[in-house]
Amino acid sequence: MSGNAVIAEAAIAAGCRFYAGYPITPSSEIAAVMAEELPKVGGVFIQMEDEIASMGAIIGASLGGMKALTATSGPGFSLKQENLGFACMAEVPCVVVNVMRGGPSTGLPTLPAQGDVMQARWGTHGDHPIIALYPADLTEMYWQTVRAFNLAEKYRTPVILLSDELLGHMSERVEIPDASELTIIDRRKPDVAPDQYLPYDVKTELVPPMANFFEGYRYHVTGLTHDETGFPTEDPDLAEAQLRRLMLKVSANADDIMEWEEDGLADAEVAIFAYGAAARSARAAIAELRAAGIKVGLFRPITIWPFPEAALVKAVSHAKALFVVEMNMGQMIREVERGIRDVPIVGIHKVSGQPIDPEEIVLTVREFLEGKVTLPQKAVYQMSV
């Protein structure tokens, strides 16, 4: 099974019954599988005229009460940003898949990259909360797709599921869990009468219940800054309170949202930070280095945003060096640097459209241990390997 097919299957298992999308390599197979499978379970597949419309449609479907998905890649992810911000502001749960390819612009449509991790955080304008997940194998892809829907429903916010061309188009053995093993979370509905419903209540809880359309609750949905009823306001206190609550939905629940993997870090003299497809290269490199007697461990964020900074600091602070391996010019390395103060950081970055060869990691680690990589006081960026 390909990574893209796994996302489609898992989305349906998570209760997704609405897909709106627009063809774009390397994500199109998600749409193709959804077009085949959704009608069989009473769902709706719509191919829209562009990515802007696709994002608009899933917001509409979610307000209507359906779990909704769209999938795209770089250029399409750029087009989705305006509506993504709307979904954050209007608190509309939905899942957006970005199967990353080389950028900027049309870039390398058929080749993998990890250049959109910062766009996933800050692609739309203004302060906004965001959750982004990025698995590294296809069984995990299944679980994280389900979790993406659960987090979207639980926190009433869009969730970005990151993948890359490598994961999207590769095939490997996937363990598909039985439906009974899955926890499925649905949005909490209001338990008050329609005339007492406050869709954006700031006082009582971080995530107010969400009334679906067609269920008798009438409320105002807008991208304008609004008060607890949903109607626009420019009242400074209300504006500040709403935005603070939006951000707190994610930051105050970060422990529930963040997942990461630590492998072999306890005795590691060298730590590697990697995620997504690059983590697969890192794993192979670690196996080779360990076989040669060099103690190397992996820290792999599965939740990219919010960033599991405290866990990273705790896990790698005893290491002699931290290697950050990513298929971009150095994006998450800055985030790593914000937390790590006392461990030298070495970046291994590649933007050629080719996956990182484990040998390239092995070589850099060996050169470092042999003293060939001279570190300035803080960090060095090795922009190509």
């Binding site: 063809p23 085949e36 005229e49 562009d50 990515e51």
Partner: protein
């Protein structure tokens, strides 16, 4: 002006279209190209098939990009900022897009450019789906076509919606020149391109583009299909010049549309028992549209 060795598929209609398009004129041409098969296959690093200046921007903005080039050219010309050239003919501008980049995502920028009145020609090569990304339906896909996002199976028998009438939308902008064409009738097509480039203001030509990959047709039959599309009146040839409508081809004998459909695997399911009504529906739509065009010409 299109070099051999591009990577378009054997039997691709778009390759023939761009060659005929550039053969039609002696003017220096600048082409802007939307994302799509032609863009990908004519510009594989480190080569280009284009012997004219060529710009690829995004999927949705070929018309917007050429708007900028044309406006800059006009402005520089007015100010006397243009360097002297050997060929003193004015430069002409062509924007090129497939049906995805024109009917769907690029419709907004096309409409804007037509309305603002830029002096350029937009050519849409319409192969009726997103062939480049894996044969997804577009709003140009004909009724009944099997695509990966309108799959013929148990639930539906291919695309359930009718094709968008993009040529009529372009004409509704009341621009000087609008036409349909097919590379199967190349004299007609090249004449239309020259005419469109002479028009003062925007022009639009919608061209039938055979796609053996997506249509599941035989590559050696591409020109046959490009002609059959016209001869069955599935793709009638006409032009609207300053509001005056004229059919540029009338078949002596109008062939049944199944002659066109049966050579394409994407319509294969329509020939299964139980789907006769879909074939009848397509024929009926073709007849109605052809009838309307005949009436329109009389006016």
């Amino acid at each position: 002006m299109v070099a051999p060795g591009h990577r378009l598929c054997t039997g691709c209609g778009a390759g023939v279209i761009i060659r005929q398009m550039l053969m039609s004129t002696d003017y220096p041409i600048v082409v802007s190209n939307a994302t799509g098969c032609v863009e990908v296959c004519t510009s594989v690093y480190p080569y280009t098939a284009w012997r004219v200046p060529w710009i690829h921007n995004g999927f949705e903005n070929a018309a917007a990009t050429i708007s900028g080039v044309e406006a800059a050219y006009k402005s520089m010309k007015r100010r006397g900022d243009l360097p002297a050239r050997k060929n003193d003919k004015p430069i002409k501008f062509i924007a090129l897009g497939g049906d995805g980049g024109t009917y769907d995502i690029g419709l907004q920028s096309l409409s804007g450019a037509l309305e603002r009145g830029h002096d350029f020609l937009y050519i849409c090569y319409d192969n009726g789906a997103y062939m480049n990304t894996g044969i997804q339906r577009s709003s140009a896909s004909p009724f009944g076509a099997n695509t990966t996002t309108s799959p013929a199976g148990v639930m539906i028998q291919g695309k359930q919606e009718e094709r968008k009438d993009l040529t009529a939308i372009a004409a509704a902008h009341n621009i000087p020149y609008v036409a349909t064409a097919s590379p199967g009738y190349y004299m007609d097509f090249t004449r239309k391109v020259s005419k469109a480039l002479e028009a003062k203001g925007p022009a639009f030509i919608n061209v039938l583009s055979v796609c053996p990959l997506g249509w599941k047709s035989e590559p050696e039959e591409s020109q046959v299909l490009a002609r059959l599309g016209v001869e069955t009146c599935f793709w009638p040839l006409f032009e609207i010049e300053n509001g005056k409508f004229r059919l540029t081809f009338r078949p002596n004998v109008k062939k049944p549309v199944v002659e066109y459909l049966k050579r394409q695997g994407r319509f294969g399911h329509l020939f299964k028992a139980g789907n006769e009504h879909m074939l009848a529906h397509i024929q009926q739509r073709v007849d109605e549209e052809w009838g309307r065009l005949l009436e329109r010409e009389k006016k």
